[in-house]
């Protein structure tokens, strides 16, 4: 009888200890990395060349120069073909490189006629959320870039990783629900100077559609 009681007390204690441990040590998952697959794009776009740091040969172009919709739409968007051409028409030095030649094939049409002129480039999605998720770029950019005045690459980098060091972008965060929630659970300052904080919304319908 005593042994039975003792055993029960032991197990109950163990359970409570585990519970309190789980309670206090819930690790935020924000930093968890989960490298996505390499995606074959029609043109191997060098993000490092465009957005990378100057000392590494990059041109430090603001992410939102090309992904211009991010601050006003739920999607960041891919730049339209004319945007690429707009710059590259004036850059003779790389005009004959294979990637730029490919780019101009989409604009002018390919010699063999397989690509008609002004065909949008069939970029593949790298950060493809499930269809039932409503992720709003605008809100995140507004909050962290405009209100908190964080550097743009840091803001984008929360979810997209360090794109400026990549050529073709590759997913580097898990983008799972728990990962999202771990950041929504944190206290974020309201703006650059405020000491007031708030958390991300936790209504299901905020993200599920």
């Amino acid at each position: 009888m005593h042994r039975f009681l003792r055993l029960s007390v032991f197990f109950a204690g163990l359970l409570m200890a585990m519970a309190s441990q789980a309670n206090t040590t819930a690790q935020p998952l924000t930093t968890a990395d989960d490298l996505g697959p390499q995606v074959d794009q029609p043109i191997e776009f060098p993000h490092d060349r465009h957005a990378g740091d100057a000392d590494k040969g990059g041109m430090q172009i603001n992410c939102m120069y090309c992904h211009t919709y991010a601050r006003r739409s739920i999607v960041a968007g891919i730049p339209p073909l004319q945007k690429c051409i707009g710059c590259h028409q004036g850059i003779e030095s790389v005009r004959e490189t294979p990637r730029i030649k490919k780019l101009f094939e989409y604009w002018e049409g390919s010699a063999d006629g397989t690509i008609a002129a002004k065909t949008p480039i069939p970029w593949k999605k790298v950060h493809d959320l499930p269809d039932f998720v409503r992720f709003n770029h605008e809100r995140h950019i507004q909050r962290f870039y405009f209100q908190q005045e964080k550097p743009v690459q840091e803001v984008c980098g929360y979810c997209h990783g360090d794109v400026k060091t990549m050529t073709v972008a590759r997913r580097s965060k898990s983008l799972s629900m728990g990962w999202c929630v771990s950041c929504h659970e944190k206290d974020h300052p309201l703006d650059a100077t405020s000491t007031m904080t708030s958390q991300g919304p936790n209504d299901c319908w905020q993200c599920h559609k």
Partner: protein, 461 residues
């Protein structure tokens, strides 16, 4: 003088031999039952696959009538499980030793009917591949199930009850498993019994620990049994629907559960007695006691039923009253009256001593009682949908589809299969407790004889 529950002069070796025989050599009927059960399961599995692949729609429920036979049958099986606990735990604590030859199979019935009930929870789900969302486990998503939902309580209660019942069944079997182990020739069975009997030697210390453990689990099981069906009742009572939102539902459900359980015990009693040749142990006096117990519970159930009607009738909830009238007069009236007949009129036969030991009569009656109790569950679930608050959504005709019926029938096959296989592998009559019973009875008889002798001696003086 009453008949004896069991012959007092059975040799212990004969008990072992008779019971162990059931593991080897049942009557042909055993295989017939197994075959029928397998066939029923086959159809049900096919139906379930079809439903799984196509969608719940094939069962013909609809947007206002979202629950059907699955939930009704689920409650039925949960109810069925209560008898085992009643016989093995409650009567154990009450020292009613006539339960001893039959409690083992009753306890097995508890376990298997819970396993069957659990299946219905799954079958009923629209996305059963996501069933684990209802379990409280720490997940990556940082979310929990809704602890406010009676359905979640249900899931937990059933899980607890099932695991406790398995433990109870198993612990109670350990001494018998040791007997099996000692009487088996080499083979997989021997290995099985060796493993399961946990090195039981029958020492005094082992017996002492065994009895304490058994008693503890029995005590634990009783509140569980009551709570499980109360919680199932609260699935309905906690809702807002007319015909469901009734305070007396928990005790009513528990009574109904014990009732159908007892009826099922009579059925299985008769079947086992025949199939495994247990006439020596499952004696008619025991059957008689079971029948009387069943009768008593039937009357309790009837009483609670009438209470429910009265409380609805004299209450001010017009919608509930409408549902009650609808049950008695609407589309479901034949079934409702069928339930009243099977549940309250048929058990009156059990009041007659003549029928209490008449096996054919008891067999038919016990089956009718269970049909009645199954109808009762259906009559709780369905009419509320067909005549709820919102008249626009009252449905025309919700006759369940073949898929629903075949899964419901298949569950009986599934239960029968589990049960029959169990009886073939494990001793379905508790050998050590029958020995105890025989021993106690013979002691008593001796005492009585001594006393009467003493009296006679005195008188001689």
């Amino acid at each position: 003088m009453t008949e004896k529950d069991i012959r007092e002069d059975i040799a212990w070796a004969k008990i072992n031999k008779d019971v162990l025989k059931s593991l080897e050599n049942p009557r042909k009927m055993y295989w017939v039952i197994i075959f029928i059960a397998l066939a029923m399961i086959g159809v049900a599995v096919g139906a379930e696959l079809y439903q799984y692949l196509t969608g719940m729609g094939v069962s013909y429920k609809n947007n206002s009538h979202v629950w059907g036979l699955y939930i009704a049958t689920f409650i039925f099986w949960i109810g069925m499980s209560h008898s085992g606990t009643l016989l093995s735990a409650i009567l154990h604590l009450m020292h009613a030793d006539w339960r001893k030859p039959i409690y083992r199979f009753a306890e097995a019935m508890t376990t298997f009917s819970l396993m069957t009930a659990g299946l219905f929870v799954m079958v009923h789900l629209g996305r059963l591949w996501m069933f684990y969302y209802a379990l409280p486990y720490p997940s990556e998503r940082w979310i929990w199930p809704n602890f406010q939902s009676p359905l979640l309580w249900d899931a937990m209660a059933i899980f607890t009850y099932l695991s406790s019942s398995v433990i109870f069944l198993y612990i109670g079997m350990i001494p018998d498993l040791a007997i099996c182990r000692d009487n088996m020739k080499n083979g997989w069975r021997k290995k099985l019994y060796t493993t399961l009997s946990l090195g039981w030697e029958g020492t005094d210390r082992q017996w002492r620990n065994f009895r304490i453990t058994y008693l503890t689990v029995a005590c634990f099981l009783i509140p569980l049994a009551v709570s499980v069906h109360s919680i199932v009742a609260s699935d309905f009572a906690m809702s807002q629907q007319p015909g469901w939102h009734i305070t007396s539902f928990p005790p009513y459900f528990v009574a109904g559960a014990l009732y159908s359980g007892c009826a099922a015990i009579i059925t299985l009693f008769i079947i086992l007695r025949y199939v495994f040749r247990f006439e020596e142990y499952m004696t008619l006096p025991i059957l008689k006691k079971t029948a009387r117990l069943t009768f008593a519970i039937a009357m309790v159930w009837t009483y609670l039923n009438l209470i429910e009607f009265a409380s609805v009738w004299y209450g001010h909830d017009q919608a509930s009253k409408d549902v009650l009238i609808y049950k008695a007069t609407g589309n479901y009236a034949p079934f409702w009256w069928g339930m009243m007949f099977c549940g309250s009129i048929v058990p009156l036969t059990l009041a007659f001593t003549r029928f209490q030991t008449n096996i054919p009569v008891l067999f038919v009656v016990s089956i009718l009682l269970n049909v009645g109790m199954w109808l009762e569950r259906w009559m709780i679930v369905a009419p509320t949908f067909a005549h709820g608050y919102y008249p626009w959504a009252w449905d025309h005709d919700q006759w369940p589809s073949f898929v629903q019926w075949s899964i419901v029938f298949g569950s009986f096959g599934w239960f029968a299969l589990l049960f029959m296989v169990f009886c073939k592998i494990f001793p379905s009559v508790s050998m050590y407790e029958v020995k105890e019973m025989v021993y106690h009875r013979s002691q008593e008889t001796k005492k009585k004889e001594l006393a009467s002798k003493g009296l006679a001696n005195k008188g001689a003086h």
